[in-house]
Amino acid sequence: MDRNQLMKWIKAPTKMAHKYSLNAVYFCTGCGVIEVPPTITSRWDAERFGVVPTATARQANLFLITGYVSVKTLRAIIRTYEQMPEPKYTVGFGSCTINGGMYWDSYNTINQLDKYIPIDGYIAGCMPRPEAIFVAVTHLWTLIDKDMADGYKRYRKNYAAYRANQEMILGEMEWPPIFQTEVATAITEREG
């Protein structure tokens, strides 16, 4: 641990703690998840950076969306994301989460994930290798340091819009809005 880091620790312990204790939800969407096991086991050992998978959304602060997202999965992703305690960070895996990738014209996959939940960073590739995950993690550190990993704040701020988008594709949702939604209805009406 170098000197700079030590100074940062002293200055903002919480932020450092968030950085070095990234607990990822066990959540497998597409093919990308195949890259996660090597990442966390002996070959790459993500735990040395504090990155470990956790069982429930409640305990996590990192959401790796590993690959294409079908409509059905989207519902679960949104629910899981909403249940994670703040602050929380999301990383999209591969092209599919960016623009749909090879599934761009599929009838059942969404193309652009950040229409539905805020994404703090993407890893390009199809598929990205474990090393790329580490790159993403270090990049996320930087973002956290600079307070730029603020997806959860954006979500809260623009919840109405996100909710409207979600409802557009998912139709009626089983759970009520988690934040105030008077605006959301207004937006949908305007759009409709």
């Binding site: 968030h18 204790s21 086991t41 002996s42 050992d45 735990e47 040395r48 069982a55 409640r58």
Partner: protein, 296 residues
Amino acid sequence: MRILWFVLSPLMALAVGLFFLGLSRRFMARIQWRVGPPLYQPLIDILRQFTQKSVSHGPLFDLGVVLSLASSFIVVLFMPLGGTAPLSSSGGLLAVLYLMLLGPLGIALSGGEAANPNVSIGISRKLILAVGYEVPFLMIVLALMTYYGTISIGEIVAAQRESASAIASFPLVFSGIAYLLILPAMLGVRPFEVVGAAQEISSGPAAEYGGPYLALATIQHGLTMFIGISLFVNLLWGGASNPVVFFLKMLVVFAFGFWVNAAFPRLRVEQAVRYLWRWPTLIAFVGLILVATIGR
């Protein structure tokens, strides 16, 4: 001095418990040919969790966790950690046995209010497993109390200091072996880890815990490990005259426990109970019979 211990021993337990948590991760990583996280990783985790904004399912949800952790601290006050126990004259080992219940019970009540079936399943498993290891554990404890004719931990430690430590004396050696056999179950590590099976029931009782709740639960877990190991050291290995020796003895026991953790796969809860009610119980029972018949 005693007042000092009131403050010192919980802190020491906290430190050692967290250290054990970190050490265990590191230890496991090394066994699995990994680098592993730094030793202070649990501290980072707890700090992170403390500052996360979680959800609460109701007053009991909060209170249960607090109760659980507080009771663990109280148990620590009954332990002579290489000195005198702060609460030595308040019910002795019997009170400890009861207070040890409150940890799981607090978590169980709190988790119950979370209304999550994963939690319920985890608690059900936890209680079943507890019944499993309590059979040999009670036999061990009773053998000790009967052998030394006291219910006070301090007196048991003192008696061992006069003669040999319990695990090295004849009838109690059975109890010692039995204790080692159930130690992983008491610490809640593999192969008896089915309570919080992460992949299966989303970490069981802790499934709804996030943020500060998780932090307290983690500390509680560390303290449970501390208590389980320190009970062994106190009751069977003669305690220690100063905290450092005590800590070293605990480290040895800890190493044994985590060797088992690393080496064995997880048991289903029936398998676990079946194991616990077979060998450890048999050995503890033999020990108890010998103590009851031969005596001191």
